[in-house]
């Protein structure tokens, strides 16, 4: 039987939640293979594993979204069978989803109401929403519609929604993937506070340093099996990663003696009015990016990064051609296709729906960005062999794992799809690559592959612009880092001078408008 006192602290009580031999089978595939996990009150328990290790399946079973094929779930010592999420919620299990379970066209208050049982009036609920968001320092305007909000704000809705049910046990699926260090720190304060209030937290993350800092216990899954339960404080990031991957992760390394060459992407005093009511106005953005160089753009989500990407990629055109210069040619007024023909390539943040058409095959998706300049079209006819070759080449070079040769984009896991998208663009040998959030929600192994690919591309002489909210990532690959705030771009700092503190201040708008700093952090 299980040892009920794994660390001696809990003698005499039973865990808050326990899974015993929990198994979930899809056909022949074992998504979860006999998993035992104990979660105690006042505990932050990390659940670690690569994409496809079975973390999502496990938490879905605990939240009542799927029924386990075998094994059982015990709540406060008693066996329970959850008919669905509402029963899980009524027992005190809350969940914050990785792919936010929000409704874009509904307001914040309506979204929160949908996550509650509806016993209180909408007005009372709205009042309580404001109170809870204030208590935990998670400011929200209940009347705004979700499509207008930044990723960080959307996550706040999820967390507040979960907190309003006063859960005893809260599941968080990669909550910091999209947050700035300051936002993440704020979240940790909230989590520590929840722990002090006697709640238990199951914390899924890829960020091992974060897990070491925050979590009391860590359970590691690999290939649907539990590998180990340990105290992450006593492990190193490397030893945790080894357990997750079952081997060493390749270290990302820049080639020595990388030379910067001619300016390949120049932005001159780019200003652009927003194209929607709540967009960000780009104001006087200027930078110069040379071949062989990687420029990182940091910043809290929703400070104009999306607008800058649209202006660079040609999704939005500028009246003045000179604002964007690609390979020495004024391109501000040129379409995406024409910019691609100049040698530029673009990888947007959103993998499904922006980077790829989800229900189309990979080869068709390769064609969608490659038709202009990669010889996939002959006199108006698609060269199917060439598109398939791109898929095969991307698969081979970037280790894209998929079920068949040419599946639908939506069937790939996030990490593998991202490797494909980045690979697709890099195989075109671009002179300029603009990439937004390259490793958002991607597991450590895939992230390392992608970062290495970006470094190699720069080594080969291309200019690379990376927008990311992951400062560690920027520190790892960028030569210089600039920060976006309220549509303005700071002077780039050399990466060695760009401390977390300095970047954090810039991300809060400090050096631009000192007075607003305190208010802007986390706003």
């Amino acid at each position: 039987m299980l040892d009920p006192t794994p660390n001696g602290l809990h003698s005499g009580e039973s865990p808050l939640l326990q899974t015993v031999g929990l198994t979930k089978r899809y056909g022949d595939f074992l998504a979860n293979d006999s998993i035992d996990i104990d979660i105690w009150p006042k505990e932050i328990h990390a659940l670690l594993g690569e994409n496809g290790a079975g973390k999502s399946t496990l938490v879905k079973a605990i939240y009542g979204l799927i029924q386990p094929s075998a094994g059982e779930i015990r709540w406060q010592g008693d066996r329970i069978v959850l008919s669905g999420p509402s029963e899980a919620r009524s027992r005190g299990i809350g969940m914050v989803f990785q792919h936010f379970s929000l409704f874009d066209n509904l307001t914040v208050a309506e979204n929160v109401a949908l996550g509650l049982d509806g016993k209180e009036s909408f007005k009372d609920m709205s009042a309580r929403l404001e109170q809870v968001s204030k208590t935990y320092g998670l400011p929200l305007d209940p009347r705004r519609e979700v499509w207008q909000l930044s990723v960080g704000e959307r996550q706040r809705i999820e967390i507040v929604r979960a907190l309003m049910q006063d859960p005893k046990f809260l599941i968080l699926d990669e909550p910091t993937a999209v947050l700035t260090p300051q936002e993440a720190d704020q979240l940790f304060i909230v989590l520590e506070r929840l722990k002090a209030e006697g709640r238990a937290i199951l914390y899924i993350s890829h960020k091992l340093e974060e897990v070491k800092r925050l979590c009391d216990t860590a359970t590691i899954l690999r290939g649907g099996k539990k590998i180990q339960t340990c105290n992450p404080g006593l492990e190193t990031a490397a030893s945790l990663a080894r357990m997750m991957v079952g081997g060493e992760i390749k270290e990302v390394k820049a080639a020595a003696g990388r030379q910067t060459t001619i300016p390949r992407l120049v932005v001159n005093d780019l200003s652009l009015a927003p194209d929607e009511a709540h967009g960000v106005r780009l104001e006087h953005i200027s930078f110069e990016l040379k071949g062989g160089e990687i420029l990182g753009i940091a910043g809290v989500a929703g400070n104009g990064q999306d607008e800058l990407f649209a202006a660079l990629s040609g999704e939005r055109l500028s009246k003045d051609p000179g604002t964007v210069v690609i390979e020495g040619i004024a391109a501000g007024h040129l379409s995406i296709t024409k910019r691609r023909k100049l040698g530029a390539a673009f990888v947007p943040e959103e993998r499904l729906g922006h980077g790829t058409a989800p229900r189309m095959k990979l080869s068709e998706n390769a064609l969608l960005t490659g038709h202009a300049a990669s010889g996939m079209v002959n006199h108006g006819f698609i060269d199917t062999a060439a598109t398939l070759k791109t898929v095969d080449k991307a698969t081979e070079t970037f280790d894209v794992r998929k079920a068949k040769r040419d599946p639908e984009a939506a069937s790939l896991s996030g990490g593998n799809l991202q490797k494909f998208i980045v690979g697709r663009e890099i195989l075109r040998n671009p002179a300029v690559l603009v990439v937004s959030q390259p490793t958002w929600g991607v597991d450590a192994g895939a992230a390392a592959v992608i970062r290495q690919a970006l470094l190699d591309l720069a080594t080969a002489g291309a200019a690379v612009l990376v927008t990311s909210q992951d400062l560690d990532e920027l520190a790892e690959i960028a030569d210089r880092i600039a920060v976006m705030f309220h549509g303005r771009l700071s002077e780039p700092l050399a990466t060695r001078d760009a401390t977390r503190e300095k970047l954090g201040l810039l991300m809060g708008g400090s050096s631009l408008e000192p007075k607003e700093a305190a208010h802007a952090v986390g706003a």
Binding site: P85, L102, F103, N105, L106, A113, W147
Partner: protein, 305 residues
């Protein structure tokens, strides 16, 4: 004066079936289901409604027959499109073809029969007020019901929790499922409501508009109702404007042709469509950003278990 009143009365009569059918489809589409079978459900509703009234002599029972027939038709759609996750567009089109054929079969025995049409309200004094009396206080029950219906639907969608859940299913069925809402059950109910409304709208034609049944008497009204929902950008208020505008221009152009206005009659017949499209497009321009259509409209949802 007499003429103005007569025109307004006929506008209301022409608009009511459109409004009822479109209201039902609006609810269906707000739940994320595109049921293109409105025309088919309407025509079966018309045949069954007339049959019910002819057999029993009661307009009320006729209307009930229409509602039940429309609902049964919509259940076929729900079984196919929701239960078996078949393509919604194909299922809806098939439903219309089925409905047209079925209504001919059901109605074959009634063709040429006549019934006493639905009585109009008469309140002594009020109904006799010149110009507005008959418009406000002299309509048949269907007209009053259609107005209550659209107000009720507005209230349901924007002021009740059930309405919020229904809109949520249309906006993002994956999230709604993740939060534990029975997406397919909610959608089935919405489809049934749409069917009931279409059946009633169909029954209105032989019960109140013209007191007899002829095959194909819906004459494309189901398609117009579908288009109205889109052009009203899925909003009940705009749906009322759209339905009455369409009815008004239809009637006015008939009168205009009667007066001998020197415009080709084909152009005049096209006018209701043109006017409705233009006005509703202008209305929807006012909104910026966000999507107006329910985001999951017409997409198949299969919950993983």
């Amino acid at each position: 004066m007499e003429l103005v009143e007569a025109i307004i009365l006929s506008v209301l009569a022409a608009s009511t079936p459109l409004l009822i059918a479109a209201t039902g489809e609006l609810v269906t589409e707000r739940a994320g289901v595109l049921n293109l079978g409105v025309e088919g459900m309407m025509i079966v509703g018309a045949a069954c409604g007339f049959g019910g009234a002819w057999l029993t002599g009661s307009i009320f029972i006729g209307a009930l027959f229409g509602i039940v027939a429309g609902t049964l038709m919509s259940l076929i759609f729900a079984l196919m499109a929701l239960g078996l996750a078949v393509n919604q567009v194909a299922t809806g089109l098939a439903l219309t073809i089925l409905g047209v054929g079925l209504s001919g079969l059901i109605g074959a025995g009634f063709v040429g029969e006549r019934i006493t049409p639905a009585t109009h309200l008469h309140i002594p004094g009020l109904t006799d007020i010149p110009l507005v009396g008959r418009v406000l206080f002299g309509e048949d029950a269907f007209v009053y019901f259609s107005i209550a219906l659209i107000i009720g639907v507005w209230w349901f969608l924007y002021r009740t929790r059930a309405g919020l859940i229904l809109r949520a299913c249309g906006d993002n069925h994956v999230s709604a499922h993740a939060l534990g809402y029975p997406v397919l059950r909610i959608r089935t109910l919405a489809v049934m409501f749409g069917g009931a409304c279409a059946g009633l709208a169909g029954a209105y034609l032989p019960l109140a508009y013209t007191p007899f049944f002829i095959p194909g008497m819906t004459a494309g009204r189901g398609w117009i109702a579908l288009a109205l929902v889109v052009f009203a950008s899925w909003r009940p208020g705009r749906l009322v404007i759209g339905a009455y505008l369409f009815g008004a221009v239809t009637i006015l152009q008939l009168h205009a042709q009667g007066w001998g206005v020197g415009i080709p009659s084909q152009f005049m017949s096209a006018l209701p469509y043109l006017a409705t499209v233009i006005v509703l497009v202008l209305l929807s321009r006012a909104r910026t950003g966000g999507s107006t259509a329910p985001a999951t409209l017409g997409t198949v949802f299969v919950p993983d278990r």
